[in-house]
Protein backbone atom coordinates (compact mmCIF):
# COMPACT_ATOMS: atom_id res chain seq x y z
CA UNK A 1 0.00 0.00 0.00
CA UNK A 2 1.29 3.43 -0.72
CA UNK A 3 1.60 5.45 2.39
CA UNK A 4 1.73 9.04 1.30
CA UNK A 5 4.20 10.97 3.34
CA UNK A 6 2.06 12.91 5.74
CA UNK A 7 4.61 15.34 7.02
CA UNK A 8 7.53 16.66 5.09
CA UNK A 9 10.08 15.65 7.71
CA UNK A 10 13.22 13.95 6.57
CA UNK A 11 13.24 10.19 7.11
CA UNK A 12 16.18 8.50 8.73
CA UNK A 13 17.49 5.21 10.07
CA UNK A 14 17.48 4.51 13.78
CA UNK A 15 17.18 1.38 15.85
CA UNK A 16 13.62 0.84 14.61
CA UNK A 17 13.35 -1.67 11.77
CA UNK A 18 12.05 0.90 9.29
CA UNK A 19 13.03 4.34 8.19
CA UNK A 20 10.98 6.86 10.12
CA UNK A 21 10.39 10.56 10.32
CA UNK A 22 9.65 12.51 13.49
CA UNK A 23 5.90 12.09 13.04
CA UNK A 24 6.22 8.30 12.66
CA UNK A 25 8.35 8.05 15.76
CA UNK A 26 5.91 10.10 17.80
CA UNK A 27 3.11 7.83 16.65
CA UNK A 28 5.10 4.70 17.49
CA UNK A 29 5.91 6.11 20.92
CA UNK A 30 2.24 6.77 21.69
CA UNK A 31 1.12 3.36 20.40
CA UNK A 32 3.71 1.55 22.51
CA UNK A 33 2.95 3.72 25.51
CA UNK A 34 -0.72 2.77 25.40
CA UNK A 35 0.18 -0.87 25.01
CA UNK A 36 2.51 -0.71 28.00
CA UNK A 37 -0.21 0.89 30.13
CA UNK A 38 -2.67 -1.83 29.22
CA UNK A 39 -0.25 -4.61 30.09
CA UNK A 40 0.65 -2.84 33.29
CA UNK A 41 -2.98 -2.56 34.34
CA UNK A 42 -3.48 -6.23 33.70
CA UNK A 43 -0.39 -7.69 35.31
CA UNK A 44 1.52 -5.22 37.46
CA UNK A 45 -0.89 -2.71 38.90
CA UNK A 46 -1.57 -4.78 42.03
CA UNK A 47 2.06 -4.35 43.00
CA UNK A 48 3.23 -1.10 41.42
CA UNK A 49 1.01 1.95 40.84
CA UNK A 50 0.23 3.07 37.31
CA UNK A 51 2.08 6.38 37.37
CA UNK A 52 5.37 4.48 37.40
CA UNK A 53 4.37 3.15 34.02
CA UNK A 54 3.50 6.65 32.82
CA UNK A 55 6.97 7.89 33.73
CA UNK A 56 8.57 4.90 32.02
CA UNK A 57 6.42 5.55 28.95
CA UNK A 58 7.43 9.18 28.74
CA UNK A 59 11.10 8.22 29.00
CA UNK A 60 10.66 5.50 26.39
CA UNK A 61 8.81 7.95 24.17
CA UNK A 62 11.61 10.49 24.36
CA UNK A 63 14.14 7.76 23.61
CA UNK A 64 12.18 6.58 20.56
CA UNK A 65 11.71 10.07 19.18
CA UNK A 66 15.38 10.95 19.68
CA UNK A 67 17.01 7.73 18.59
CA UNK A 68 14.44 5.67 16.67
Amino acid sequence: MDHPVVHEVSARDGFLPIKTNAFDRGFIGVVFGIFLHLLWMRFLEQAIPLWVCTILTVLLGIYIVKRG
Binding site: A11, P17, F35, H37, M41, R42
Partner: protein
Protein backbone atom coordinates in the same frame (compact mmCIF):
# COMPACT_ATOMS: atom_id res chain seq x y z
CA UNK B 1 -8.48 32.38 -12.57
CA UNK B 2 -7.40 29.42 -10.50
CA UNK B 3 -7.61 31.02 -7.11
CA UNK B 4 -7.15 28.55 -4.24
CA UNK B 5 -10.20 30.05 -2.57
CA UNK B 6 -12.45 28.55 -5.23
CA UNK B 7 -10.70 25.21 -4.75
CA UNK B 8 -11.27 25.24 -1.02
CA UNK B 9 -14.85 26.27 -1.65
CA UNK B 10 -15.35 23.13 -3.73
CA UNK B 11 -13.76 21.01 -1.02
CA UNK B 12 -15.56 22.67 1.87
CA UNK B 13 -18.76 20.57 1.92
CA UNK B 14 -16.78 17.34 1.75
CA UNK B 15 -14.50 18.38 4.56
CA UNK B 16 -17.44 19.59 6.61
CA UNK B 17 -19.38 16.34 6.29
CA UNK B 18 -16.37 14.14 7.00
CA UNK B 19 -15.37 16.23 10.00
CA UNK B 20 -18.79 16.25 11.59
CA UNK B 21 -19.64 12.60 10.96
CA UNK B 22 -16.18 11.05 10.84
CA UNK B 23 -13.80 13.03 13.00
CA UNK B 24 -16.11 14.33 15.71
CA UNK B 25 -17.37 10.83 16.64
CA UNK B 26 -13.77 9.72 16.98
CA UNK B 27 -12.94 12.55 19.38
CA UNK B 28 -16.22 12.02 21.17
CA UNK B 29 -15.63 8.30 21.75
CA UNK B 30 -12.16 9.05 23.09
CA UNK B 31 -13.73 11.59 25.44
CA UNK B 32 -16.58 9.42 26.70
CA UNK B 33 -14.17 6.53 27.28
CA UNK B 34 -12.78 8.33 30.32
CA UNK B 35 -16.15 8.73 32.01
CA UNK B 36 -18.73 6.65 33.77
CA UNK B 37 -21.96 7.19 31.96
CA UNK B 38 -25.09 5.15 32.29
CA UNK B 39 -28.28 7.15 31.65
CA UNK B 40 -30.34 4.57 33.50
CA UNK B 41 -28.14 4.35 36.58
CA UNK B 42 -28.71 6.22 39.84
CA UNK B 43 -26.56 9.06 38.57
CA UNK B 44 -27.30 9.55 34.88
CA UNK B 45 -24.58 12.17 34.33
CA UNK B 46 -21.04 11.80 33.12
CA UNK B 47 -18.69 11.15 36.00
CA UNK B 48 -14.99 11.35 35.38
CA UNK B 49 -13.48 7.94 35.90
CA UNK B 50 -9.91 8.26 34.66
CA UNK B 51 -8.72 5.02 33.16
CA UNK B 52 -11.10 2.87 35.20
CA UNK B 53 -12.96 1.76 32.10
CA UNK B 54 -9.74 0.47 30.60
CA UNK B 55 -8.80 -1.14 33.88
CA UNK B 56 -12.05 -3.07 33.70
CA UNK B 57 -11.49 -3.83 30.05
CA UNK B 58 -8.19 -5.64 30.41
CA UNK B 59 -9.84 -8.06 32.83
CA UNK B 60 -13.00 -8.52 30.76
CA UNK B 61 -12.74 -12.12 29.62
CA UNK B 62 -15.68 -11.90 27.23
CA UNK B 63 -14.09 -8.98 25.46
CA UNK B 64 -10.68 -10.64 25.29
CA UNK B 65 -12.28 -13.84 24.05
CA UNK B 66 -14.08 -12.05 21.25
CA UNK B 67 -10.84 -10.39 20.23
CA UNK B 68 -9.20 -13.80 20.12
CA UNK B 69 -12.05 -15.18 18.04
CA UNK B 70 -11.86 -12.24 15.65
CA UNK B 71 -8.15 -12.82 15.16
CA UNK B 72 -8.67 -16.52 14.49
CA UNK B 73 -11.47 -15.78 12.08
CA UNK B 74 -9.42 -13.13 10.29
CA UNK B 75 -6.39 -15.40 10.03
CA UNK B 76 -8.26 -18.32 8.47
CA UNK B 77 -10.32 -16.12 6.20
CA UNK B 78 -7.46 -14.09 4.79
CA UNK B 79 -5.16 -17.09 4.39
CA UNK B 80 -7.74 -19.22 2.57
CA UNK B 81 -8.80 -16.35 0.38
CA UNK B 82 -5.26 -15.58 -0.68
CA UNK B 83 -4.59 -19.20 -1.61
CA UNK B 84 -7.90 -19.84 -3.38
CA UNK B 85 -7.86 -16.42 -5.00
CA UNK B 86 -4.34 -16.94 -6.32
CA UNK B 87 -5.18 -20.32 -7.85
CA UNK B 88 -8.34 -18.96 -9.46
CA UNK B 89 -6.48 -15.94 -10.79
CA UNK B 90 -3.90 -18.25 -12.35
CA UNK B 91 -6.69 -20.13 -14.10
CA UNK B 92 -8.05 -16.85 -15.41
CA UNK B 93 -4.70 -16.17 -17.06
CA UNK B 94 -5.45 -18.90 -19.59
CA UNK B 95 -7.81 -18.56 -22.49
CA UNK B 96 -10.97 -20.56 -22.42
CA UNK B 97 -14.52 -20.11 -23.64
CA UNK B 98 -17.07 -18.02 -21.70
CA UNK B 99 -14.35 -16.40 -19.60
CA UNK B 100 -16.20 -13.08 -19.44
CA UNK B 101 -19.37 -14.71 -18.21
CA UNK B 102 -17.57 -16.70 -15.50
CA UNK B 103 -15.85 -13.54 -14.41
CA UNK B 104 -19.06 -11.56 -14.18
CA UNK B 105 -20.76 -14.25 -12.12
CA UNK B 106 -17.69 -14.53 -9.90
CA UNK B 107 -18.03 -10.79 -9.13
CA UNK B 108 -21.63 -11.10 -8.00
CA UNK B 109 -21.02 -11.82 -4.29
CA UNK B 110 -19.13 -8.54 -3.96
CA UNK B 111 -22.25 -6.54 -4.72
CA UNK B 112 -24.73 -8.51 -2.65
CA UNK B 113 -25.76 -6.93 0.64
CA UNK B 114 -23.91 -8.66 3.49
CA UNK B 115 -27.17 -9.05 5.33
CA UNK B 116 -28.65 -10.92 2.35
CA UNK B 117 -25.54 -13.10 2.19
CA UNK B 118 -26.15 -13.98 5.82
CA UNK B 119 -29.80 -14.73 5.09
CA UNK B 120 -28.91 -16.95 2.13
CA UNK B 121 -26.40 -18.96 4.15
CA UNK B 122 -28.77 -19.23 7.03
CA UNK B 123 -31.37 -20.71 4.72
CA UNK B 124 -28.76 -23.17 3.47
CA UNK B 125 -27.98 -24.21 7.02
CA UNK B 126 -31.35 -24.42 8.75
CA UNK B 127 -31.87 -28.00 9.94
CA UNK B 128 -34.83 -29.69 8.29
CA UNK B 129 -34.92 -27.15 5.47
CA UNK B 130 -31.49 -26.36 4.09
CA UNK B 131 -29.62 -28.73 1.79
CA UNK B 132 -26.37 -28.41 3.74
CA UNK B 133 -27.40 -30.32 6.88
CA UNK B 134 -29.34 -32.79 4.78
CA UNK B 135 -26.56 -33.76 2.39
CA UNK B 136 -23.76 -33.56 4.95
CA UNK B 137 -25.69 -36.02 7.05
CA UNK B 138 -26.59 -38.28 4.16
CA UNK B 139 -23.21 -38.41 2.44
CA UNK B 140 -20.77 -37.99 5.29
CA UNK B 141 -22.83 -38.81 8.35
CA UNK B 142 -22.12 -35.39 9.87
CA UNK B 143 -24.64 -34.05 12.32
CA UNK B 144 -24.68 -30.46 11.14
CA UNK B 145 -26.39 -28.11 13.56
CA UNK B 146 -25.13 -24.53 13.70
CA UNK B 147 -27.06 -23.80 16.84
CA UNK B 148 -25.38 -26.56 18.84
CA UNK B 149 -21.78 -27.04 17.79
CA UNK B 150 -19.31 -24.22 18.22
CA UNK B 151 -16.78 -25.51 15.71
CA UNK B 152 -19.35 -25.92 12.99
CA UNK B 153 -20.61 -22.41 13.55
CA UNK B 154 -17.10 -20.99 13.40
CA UNK B 155 -16.18 -22.92 10.27
CA UNK B 156 -19.42 -21.96 8.56
CA UNK B 157 -18.78 -18.26 9.16
CA UNK B 158 -15.31 -18.71 7.67
CA UNK B 159 -16.67 -20.53 4.64
CA UNK B 160 -19.34 -17.89 4.16
CA UNK B 161 -16.75 -15.14 4.23
CA UNK B 162 -14.59 -17.04 1.77
CA UNK B 163 -17.60 -17.30 -0.52
CA UNK B 164 -18.30 -13.61 -0.15
CA UNK B 165 -14.84 -12.09 -0.56
CA UNK B 166 -12.61 -14.49 -2.50
CA UNK B 167 -13.73 -12.83 -5.77
CA UNK B 168 -12.08 -9.60 -4.65
CA UNK B 169 -8.79 -11.39 -4.06
CA UNK B 170 -9.07 -13.24 -7.36
CA UNK B 171 -9.66 -10.06 -9.29
CA UNK B 172 -6.92 -8.02 -7.62
CA UNK B 173 -4.39 -10.80 -8.05
CA UNK B 174 -5.54 -11.23 -11.63
CA UNK B 175 -4.85 -7.56 -12.22
CA UNK B 176 -1.43 -8.05 -10.68
CA UNK B 177 -0.71 -11.11 -12.80
CA UNK B 178 -1.82 -9.44 -16.03
CA UNK B 179 0.47 -6.48 -15.44
CA UNK B 180 3.49 -8.74 -14.92
CA UNK B 181 6.40 -8.71 -17.37
CA UNK B 182 7.03 -11.99 -19.18
CA UNK B 183 10.81 -11.84 -19.60
CA UNK B 184 11.88 -12.96 -16.09
CA UNK B 185 9.79 -16.10 -16.42
CA UNK B 186 11.09 -16.94 -19.85
CA UNK B 187 14.74 -16.46 -18.91
CA UNK B 188 14.21 -18.51 -15.74
CA UNK B 189 12.78 -21.33 -17.81
CA UNK B 190 15.75 -21.14 -20.12
CA UNK B 191 18.02 -21.39 -17.09
CA UNK B 192 16.22 -24.56 -16.13
CA UNK B 193 14.47 -23.39 -12.97
CA UNK B 194 11.69 -25.67 -11.82
CA UNK B 195 8.12 -24.50 -11.21
CA UNK B 196 8.54 -24.10 -7.48
CA UNK B 197 11.69 -22.01 -7.90
CA UNK B 198 9.97 -19.82 -10.45
CA UNK B 199 7.02 -19.32 -8.14
CA UNK B 200 9.14 -18.60 -5.09
CA UNK B 201 11.89 -16.44 -6.57
CA UNK B 202 10.16 -14.67 -9.41
CA UNK B 203 6.40 -14.79 -9.05
CA UNK B 204 6.14 -13.89 -5.36
CA UNK B 205 8.53 -10.92 -5.40
CA UNK B 206 6.83 -9.51 -8.48
CA UNK B 207 3.38 -10.05 -7.02
CA UNK B 208 4.33 -8.73 -3.58
CA UNK B 209 2.90 -5.19 -3.85
CA UNK B 210 -0.49 -6.40 -5.04
CA UNK B 211 -0.43 -9.23 -2.54
CA UNK B 212 0.24 -6.85 0.35
CA UNK B 213 -2.45 -4.40 -0.73
CA UNK B 214 -4.96 -7.21 -1.02
CA UNK B 215 -3.99 -8.64 2.34
CA UNK B 216 -4.43 -5.31 4.08
CA UNK B 217 -7.78 -4.58 2.52
CA UNK B 218 -9.11 -8.03 3.31
CA UNK B 219 -7.64 -7.87 6.80
CA UNK B 220 -9.37 -4.64 7.67
CA UNK B 221 -12.66 -5.85 6.26
CA UNK B 222 -12.44 -9.21 8.01
CA UNK B 223 -11.70 -7.57 11.35
CA UNK B 224 -14.96 -5.64 11.19
CA UNK B 225 -17.27 -8.36 9.89
CA UNK B 226 -20.64 -8.04 11.56
CA UNK B 227 -23.70 -8.22 9.33
CA UNK B 228 -23.31 -11.66 7.78
CA UNK B 229 -22.32 -13.37 10.99
CA UNK B 230 -25.13 -11.71 12.90
CA UNK B 231 -27.61 -12.98 10.33
CA UNK B 232 -26.13 -16.48 10.14
CA UNK B 233 -25.44 -17.38 13.76
CA UNK B 234 -26.37 -14.35 15.82
CA UNK B 235 -22.96 -14.68 17.46
CA UNK B 236 -23.79 -18.10 18.83
CA UNK B 237 -23.93 -20.81 19.86
CA UNK B 238 -23.04 -19.25 23.18
CA UNK B 239 -20.38 -16.76 22.18
CA UNK B 240 -18.58 -18.98 19.66
CA UNK B 241 -18.90 -16.57 16.75
CA UNK B 242 -19.28 -13.30 18.61
CA UNK B 243 -16.61 -11.35 16.84
CA UNK B 244 -15.55 -8.00 18.17
CA UNK B 245 -17.93 -5.88 16.10
CA UNK B 246 -20.84 -8.07 17.15
CA UNK B 247 -19.66 -7.96 20.73
CA UNK B 248 -19.66 -4.16 20.85
CA UNK B 249 -23.01 -4.03 19.16
CA UNK B 250 -24.81 -6.76 21.08
CA UNK B 251 -23.31 -6.17 24.52
CA UNK B 252 -22.82 -2.43 24.84
CA UNK B 253 -26.16 -1.21 23.57
CA UNK B 254 -28.45 -3.36 25.71
CA UNK B 255 -26.38 -2.60 28.81
CA UNK B 256 -26.41 1.19 28.17
CA UNK B 257 -23.06 1.36 29.91
CA UNK B 258 -21.81 4.03 27.54
CA UNK B 259 -18.50 4.96 29.11
CA UNK B 260 -17.37 1.37 29.17
CA UNK B 261 -18.68 0.82 25.65
CA UNK B 262 -16.76 3.83 24.40
CA UNK B 263 -13.59 2.46 25.97
CA UNK B 264 -14.27 -0.85 24.25
CA UNK B 265 -14.81 0.83 20.88
CA UNK B 266 -11.67 2.88 21.16
CA UNK B 267 -9.69 -0.16 22.22
CA UNK B 268 -10.92 -2.03 19.15
CA UNK B 269 -9.78 0.80 16.94
CA UNK B 270 -6.45 0.84 18.71
CA UNK B 271 -5.93 -2.89 18.29
CA UNK B 272 -6.86 -2.68 14.62
CA UNK B 273 -4.31 0.06 14.04
CA UNK B 274 -1.66 -1.84 16.00
CA UNK B 275 -2.23 -5.04 14.08
CA UNK B 276 -2.08 -3.29 10.71
CA UNK B 277 1.00 -1.36 11.73
CA UNK B 278 2.87 -4.45 12.91
CA UNK B 279 1.98 -6.28 9.73
CA UNK B 280 3.07 -3.29 7.71
CA UNK B 281 6.45 -3.28 9.42
CA UNK B 282 6.69 -7.05 9.18
CA UNK B 283 5.81 -7.27 5.52
CA UNK B 284 7.43 -4.11 4.24
CA UNK B 285 10.18 -4.07 6.84
CA UNK B 286 13.55 -2.48 6.15
CA UNK B 287 12.27 -1.08 2.94
CA UNK B 288 12.95 2.63 2.81
CA UNK B 289 9.74 4.60 2.69
CA UNK B 290 8.94 6.49 -0.42
CA UNK B 291 9.50 10.17 0.06
Amino acid sequence: MRSPVTGWLFLAPTILVLTVFGFVPFIYVAFVGFFDWNPFAANPDLVFAGVNNYRRLVFDNQFLRSIGLTLQFTFWVVLSQLIIGYLLAQLFMRDFPLKGLFRTIHTLPLLVAPIAVGAAWRLLCVPGLGPLPYYLNRWFGIDFRLGSFEHQAFITTVVMDIWHWTPLVTLTLLAGLSAMPKEPFESAQVDGANRWQIFWHIMLPLLKPVLITTTFIRLMDALRTVDEVWMLTGGGPGTATRYIGLHIWRVVFPQTDYGYGAAMSLMTLYLTIMLCWFLYVGLVARKPRAS
